[in-house]
């Protein structure tokens, strides 16, 4: 006979405000098999946990149901408490009274009734729980970091400095990411490259870091501590060991007019190229789409001029297989291309540019060597207009969120412009100035008060050309929506920060969730910001939401600590929620009839054939067998099995049918 304890939590007032917790506990106390039931203000607190532990020892409980928040929140807490009191932790279940009941329903009898139902389901389930033992699995102490921007660089260095191996992959020919494109950084106006490039070099030289540039994740399988990744090293068409980075090839390449990605299309590059002078590694790649040899079959100038014979036209993509224990995703973000805004005339007017393009114009390593010159005719603009929220905070554009970094970089851009173009006039159209951050507000005030940037609160409806000027037509909402027209020489759009193209595919490869805007989803918005819902996979930087540099770096260090924590143990314990094929006494051995439908259903190839032999070694029967190391516990095989011979621990047939029956029958 079961002796079950029911512990109803008030969660302060989170549950008790809408659910009559005392009534839930009282009702539960009358059910068959429930020997103890109580309600308490904070079950997860120390006294709350002691309440559970004492009840287990004093009443000899065989099962525990904690009715509180989501099991995704506190299941480990309460299972641990049970284990400390000597009860098998898998004899503890949680009823979700907070997220699934008290927070989503109004106060009333129906809500309390629902709470009672939810508790009853779990009480009946726990009667069929079995004592389970956690599975121990070894940990491969190598981390994979995807993305070599500042977040990926920081995460790699931090993990590598704890003494663990790191594999860093970057899809572009060089690491550095968006930060390497920036001119100066807010709020200190530090030169971005000056603070970044030492880190890039450190990554390349670190004995614990293996760097694969021009490489992407091909596939991933496995689970926390034991992932297997395939990395596609895209062909660079050079032999990296022989290449010395002398740049003979890049100077001599005849194809010189390819828009440079690094300069956001404002500068040109050759077909064999190094994206920027400080690139790490500082070795070129051939862009096969634009290389004359790959298009027309002849040229080979680079091969002729290369002093070490490092050019390899026939090089193929390489697939590298690596075993890793944890993954940090730091793939960053991109900015919405402004062809998204026909009303602002991007593409039609060469002098309407994006914020990232302005960074390149203002950068000393940029196409104009740091002089602000407009792209159309190279003139220094005398009047410049910055548009905040180009796409952001605009549900009509499908981007209701704030891109967060724009307010700050616009203030920086306007400031840089004022510093470089004396006597120039700059205007900023904004909705609100969001400058939350250390010294951020002061920075914006400096732009307005010291550098004389004109901030106009209002939006711009359209930009059109008239007599060689860009007419920016908007309103000033602080002057009663008075129409404003500015004759500008150049317009900079702070286009929304959006998820990378291909973010969805990557999430699917990694089995992690993402939000409606394709940013990767954290496990908990407050308390697990760097974890994903998939154990062993962590997030850093702007792949999770638009982030500025300090936040990305902080997140990266956070993720690195999580990885280091994981690697601090030689073994991990995994929940024993896995499938098992039943075994019975001879002559049946198992109700499995050996149809092996389960083998075809299993996404992890975790089911094998097992031959049952008699003493003479003759095969009596072929049955399925689950490899507990590979099984992830999805239970697809369970629903497939024709003879109900496979069952999944923790979600057995008995338990699930009991839950359904308990739910619909009151007793």
């Amino acid at each position: 006979m079961s002796k079950i304890g029911v512990f109803v939590c008030h969660c302060g007032e989170n549950i008790s405000a809408t659910v009559d917790c005392a009534k839930v506990a009282e009702t539960a106390g009358n059910w068959d098999g429930v020997t103890f039931s109580v309600d308490y203000k904070y079950m997860c607190s120390d006294p709350g946990q002691s309440l559970i532990k004492n009840a287990i020892t004093e009443k000899g409980l065989t099962g525990v149901v904690v009715a509180s928040c989501s099991p995704r929140m506190h299941e480990p807490t309460f299972r641990k408490a049970c284990a400390e009191a000597g009860l098998n932790p898998f004899m503890c279940e949680m009823a979700n009274l907070r997220e699934h009941c008290s927070w989503v329903h109004e106060k009333g009898e129906a809500t309390t009734e629902k709470a009672i139902d939810l508790v009853r389901i779990l009480v009946e389930k726990v009667k069929y729980n079995h004592e389970l033992t956690s599975i121990k699995v070894p940990v491969t102490k190598t981390a994979l970091v995807i993305g070599g921007g500042i977040a990926g660089i920081q995460a790699s260095l931090d993990i590598a400095n704890t003494g663990h191996k790191v594999i860093l992959i970057e899809k572009d020919p060089s690491i550095g990411g968006h930060m390497s494109q920036l001119s100066e950084t807010f709020p200190t106006l530090d030169c971005s490259q000056c603070i970044l490039t030492p880190r890039m070099v450190e990554v390349a030289q670190h004995p614990n870091i293996t760097l694969y540039t021009y490489a992407e994740l091909e596939s991933l399988e496995g689970f926390i501590g034991n992932f297997k990744a395939k990395i596609r090293k895209k062909s660079k068409s050079i032999d990296e060991k022989l290449c010395t980075g002398c740049a003979q090839c890049t100077t001599k390449c005849p194809v010189k007019k390819i828009p440079s990605e690094f300069n956001e299309g404002l500068g040109k590059r050759t077909a064999i190229y190094v994206p920027f002078p400080q690139a790490v590694p500082n070795k070129p790649v051939i862009d096969r789409k634009n290389c004359t040899y790959y298009i027309k079959g002849k040229c080979k100038v680079c091969e002729i001029v290369c002093p070490t014979g490092a050019i390899r036209f026939d090089q193929e993509d390489q697939i590298v297989e690596v075993e890793i224990g944890a993954i940090v995703i730091a793939t960053g973000f991109t900015v919405k291309q402004p062809d998204f805004f026909p009303e602002y005339g991007y593409g039609k007017h060469a002098d309407v540019i994006t914020g990232l393009q302005f960074e390149r114009l203002a950068s000393a390593s940029g196409p104009t060597l740091g002089e602000i010159r407009r792209p159309s005719d190279g003139k220094v603009p005398e009047k410049i207009v910055f548009l905040a929220c180009a796409g952001s905070r605009d549900p009509a554009k499908g981007i209701p969120y704030c891109s967060k970094i724009c307010c700050m970089y616009i203030a920086k851009h306007a400031m840089l412009y004022q510093h470089k173009v004396h006597g120039g006039k700059s205007y900023v159209f904004y909705m609100d100035i969001r400058a939350g951050g250390k010294q951020y507000e002061e920075f914006v005030r400096r732009a307005i008060e010291d550098d004389g940037v004109n901030y106009i609160r209002g939006r711009v409806s359209k930009i059109y050309e008239k007599n060689g000027k860009l007419i920016v037509s908007g309103v000033d909402t602080l002057l009663n929506a008075m129409p404003v027209e500015i004759e500008a020489d150049m317009v900079v759009l702070a286009t929304a920060g959006v998820a990378n193209e291909g973010a969805e595919e990557l999430a699917q490869k990694l089995h992690i969730s993402y939000d409606p805007y394709k940013f990767f989803a954290e496990a908990h918005p407050k308390l697990k910001p760097v974890e994903t819902n998939t154990a062993g996979i962590f997030l850093a930087g702007a792949c999770q939401a638009p982030r500025d540099i300090p936040e990305s770096v902080a997140m990266a260090s956070g993720a690195a600590v999580k990885v280091a924590g994981l690697f601090s143990k030689d073994e991990l314990t995994r929940e024993p929620i896995i499938a098992v094929v039943n075994r019975q006494a001879p002559p049946v051995y198992s109700s499995c009839v050996g149809c092996f439908l389960c083998v075809s259903a299993c996404p992890y190839q975790a089911i094998e054939k097992e031959e049952i032999k008699n003493r003479n070694g003759e095969v009596i029967k072929s049955v399925a067998k689950v490899n507990p190391g590979l099984c992830q516990g999805c239970g697809t095989c369970v629903a497939f099995c024709r003879t109900k011979s496979i069952d999944i621990q923790g979600y057995t047939h008995e338990q699930m049918y009991t839950e359904v029956m308990a739910l619909l029958n009151e007793y």
Binding site: S2, D32, S70, P71, R72, N96, R98, E99, H100, C101, W103, V104, H105, E106, A110, T111, K114, D117, L118, I121, E124, K127, A507, Q508, H511, S513, Y514, D515, P516, A521, P525, N533, T534, I577, A601, P603, Y604, Q632, G633, C634, G635, T636, V638, A639, F640, I648, G650, Y651, H653, M656, Y657, T658, E659, V660, M661, A662, L663, L664, N665, Y667
Partner: protein
């Protein structure tokens, strides 16, 4: 007479819809209290006999919800669930079980509002359909003996 309050059972996967319903809670979005969630590791685990069992025990409506296609935590469980649902639906239609009472859907961990919408829509449509007494005529079981361990 008080309005008919349907009993609705939701079979959801742990990784997407359960987490999505958690987000509904965290976002304090209100929805009808008629639904009771039963957690599965994956929609691929859901044996559709459980749905029949739920009707058998007196459920008026059922929601089955998991991860969106391609987003399954276990790679392909939701595809199996979908295929099984297509088969099961024809079987229901053949035997006379009202498939309007089963809502099959995808709710991701980020779609808290969608979960509330689905519950509200299902409660509304089941309320219009009324109690599922017809089921007893379709499934002629002998009088059941209640024996709960």
């Amino acid at each position: 007479m008080a309005e008919f309050e349907p009993k609705i059972v939701a079979f959801v996967c742990n990784w997407c819809t359960y987490a999505g319903a958690d987000l509904t809670g965290t976002s304090r979005i209100k929805y009808a209290s008629n639904v009771r969630i039963i957690r599965f590791p994956c929609t691929g685990r859901i044996d559709y006999m459980l749905l029949l069992k739920a009707f058998d025990e007196g459920a008026d409506g059922i929601i089955v919800s998991g991860c969106h296609p391609n987003d399954c935590h276990y790679t392909s469980g939701n595809f199996h669930a979908r295929r099984r649902w297509i088969m099961f639906r024809s079987l229901c239609n053949f035997t006379g079980i009202d498939t309007n009472r089963i809502k099959f859907s995808w709710v991701s961990a980020a779609e808290g509002a969608k979960w509330a919408d689905i519950v509200n829509a299902t409660v509304k449509s089941i309320r219009e359909l009324g109690p599922y007494t017809e089921y007893k005529k379709v499934a002629k079981y002998p009088e059941k003996e209640v024996n709960h361990g």
